[in-house]
């Protein structure tokens, strides 16, 4: 494939994404928005999983933290966008900085156990601290800020464009991180923590920074989540959500960030389609998850990278042009 046809393809994809609200149904656009903010969570998950090899079950907790901060501030009329969103990000950074200290002290299965506990703590507080979070009833009536409501050619596409732009920016930034010197160090930790320590790396600080970055991405997802749905409910951050993020990550392939986005698109589509037939769609998603873990641990991207062209794209991104 030559340069020109490559750019033609990129342009077509970009134009299609921009044109979605005009050429596709409203349902599809809504679905896209949903996939985009959930994909941000999947990216947060895949960043930790692919770079340091840590499987976190606490990703939705940070979506919840920022979502709840905005919901609480706005329903009580203390602060509004953009200050509420900034406050939400500050809360996310602070909590992840503290949680990161504990999470750093574990690896492998202990990390899963610990993040499960941390996620459950946030969930339990959201559920039980009724005087502030309104408990199981959740907080309702958060309206989308005007800044995300602009019209283009008479169509209300503001929210879609804002989230699409943010999403592309974040995915690019995370991908850039993974091929930076910092990302290389994280991969070193994934492969051999003891060797990295012997080489003089401050391994726990690197892991801590990665944890905070991942939480930040999940926190940004929370901002879009709460403004789009308008409701903040504990069920958004329960363990089923953690599992959904994890399932998306595994579907796509644990070592791939793009894969996580693909995986999340599949999971969300399945959820909507299956939801039309049954409330208990988690059984089906769970079984698919089980099959993927057992039979295709590399997930979708494992298949995609078998394609030579895709593989060379991957190599070029991560390793530079082949030299020597």
């Amino acid at each position: 494939m030559n340069q020109i046809s490559k750019w033609i393809i990129y342009t077509i994809v970009a134009l299609f994404l921009l044109a979605v609200p005009f050429i596709m149904s409203e349902f599809f656009t809504t679905m896209m928005v949903r996939v985009l903010y959930f994909s941000l969570m999947a990216v947060a998950f895949a960043f930790l999983a692919s770079q340091i090899g840590l499987v976190s079950l606490a990703i939705p907790a940070f979506l919840g933290l920022s979502g709840y901060t905005i919901a609480i501030l706005e329903t009580r009329e203390i602060m509004f966008f953009p200050y509420s969103a900034m406050a939400a990000i500050v809360v996310v950074l602070f909590v992840s900085a503290v949680f990161g200290i504990f999470a750093n002290r574990s690896k492998g299965i202990y990390f899963i156990m610990l993040t499960l506990i941390l996620g459950q703590i946030i969930w339990a507080v959201a559920r039980q601290w009724a005087s502030v979070t309104n408990g199981v009833n959740g907080l309702i009536g958060i309206s989308t800020p005007d800044a995300m409501q602009f019209n283009v050619f008479g169509a209300n596409v503001g929210f879609y464009y804002v989230i699409l732009f943010t999403f592309v920016l974040i995915v690019w930034a995370v991908l850039a991180l993974t091929r930076s010197s910092f990302g290389m160090k994280l991969k070193g930790i994934r492969e051999s923590e003891s060797r990295m320590i012997m080489l003089g790396y401050r391994v726990s600080r690197l892991k801590w920074v990665a944890f905070v970055i991942s939480s930040l991405v999940a926190g940004i997802a929370g901002v879009f989540f709460v403004y789009f749905v308008g409701v903040m409910h504990p069920s958004a951050i329960d363990l089923d959500s953690s599992a959904m993020v994890l399932i998306a990550g595994i579907f796509g392939g644990v070592y791939s960030i793009i894969g996580a986005v693909l995986g999340m698109s599949i999971v969300q589509t399945l959820e909507v389609v299956l939801n039309a037939y049954t409330q208990r769609y988690l059984i089906i998603i769970g079984i698919m998850f089980l099959l993927v873990v057992i039979y295709a641990p590399k997930g979708l991207m494992g298949l995609i990278y078998k394609n030579k062209y895709m593989k060379s794209l991957y190599d070029k991104w991560y390793k530079g042009r082949k030299d020597s």
Binding site: L114, I121, I247, R280, G286, L290, P297
Partner: protein, 283 residues
């Protein structure tokens, strides 16, 4: 005050039986069975059904335990063995089973909270001077002591126990011993499932049985493992007591942050003694 202490001890007794099985199987197989909470809930639901057909509480406990043990056996035999050796994938398999099982249980038993009725013999309080103790609490405590003693004897007085302890200490050495060890590992996993099942029935009588209980129980059990230390019997006892007390006092005074409070000792342990109170390692 007394009531809260007794509540705490009762909770500790329940949590101990749940956590000790999970802890030992975790230390042996190096698989954190994230379906453990779901197994607990499964035992509770089976016990509930048995209870409503036969009205025999003892039968409910036994059947609940056996049914859960069977489920654990199936999980070990048909699923975990397929991904043997990759601890991360094994853990993910147990997680997916937990998700599936949770939904299956909602399909079978519905989503509304219930409680398992228990015999009149255990209803009401026992008054000892100034102290009023619910009979069920006494039973649960005695139950935990009996099971704890039996487990302790199994671990310390039998040959299987010796293998289990050796496996907890030096996994690789025992794993290298051969296929027989596999059987011991599987048995431990199934035993942990059995314990989860019987506690499900007993705990389902004391607490409520509802969806989401599975994750709550699992979270408590994991807290106890990290606090007490992986593979430590004594650590599980002490950690369960600490957690039980924080649970009951927390529920009374700061229900909003009860789980948060339960995490405090774990946070301290992670900072000052990452291997847990009596643990051997955090690998």
């Amino acid at each position: 005050m007394w009531m809260t202490v007794i509540d705490g001890i009762t909770m500790a007794a329940l949590l101990f039986i749940i956590a000790v099985g999970l802890n030992l199987s975790f230390a042996l197989l190096r698989v954190a069975n994230l379906a453990h909470g779901a197994l607990y809930l499964f035992g509770a639901y089976v016990g509930y059904s048995v209870m409503s057909y036969t009205e025999s509480w003892l039968l409910a406990i036994v059947v609940g335990g056996l049914a859960t043990a069977l489920l654990a056996l199936l999980l070990e035999f048909f699923l975990l063995r397929k991904v043997r050796g990759d601890n991360l994938r094994e853990t993910l398999v147990t997680l997916s089973v937990a998700i599936i099982l949770a939904d299956v249980m909602i399909v079978i038993w519905g989503g509304s909270p219930m409680s398992i009725p228990y015999p009149d013999l255990l209803q009401g309080p026992l008054i000892m001077g100034d102290v009023i103790v619910p009979k069920l609490s006494l039973f649960i405590l005695g139950f935990a002591i009996v099971i704890g003693t039996l487990l302790w004897m199994l671990l310390n007085k039998t040959k299987i126990g010796m293998i289990i302890r050796a496996g907890v200490d030096d996994y690789e050495m025992v794993a290298a011993l051969g296929t027989n060890i596999r059987l011991v590992f599987t048995s431990m996993f199934v035993l942990a499932g059995f314990l989860a099942g019987i506690v499900g029935v007993v705990g389902g009588s004391h607490l409520i049985v509802s969806p989401e209980e599975d994750w709550r129980i699992l979270t408590y059990a994991l807290l106890i493992i990290i606090l007490g230390g992986m593979g430590s019997f004594g650590g599980s006892v002490v950690a369960a007591l600490i957690m039980g007390m924080i649970y009951s006092f927390g529920s009374l005074y700061v229900p909003e942050f009860q789980l948060f409070l339960m995490f405090t000792p774990v946070a301290l342990v992670l900072i000052f003694k990452p291997k847990g109170l009596f643990g051997r390692g955090l690998e």
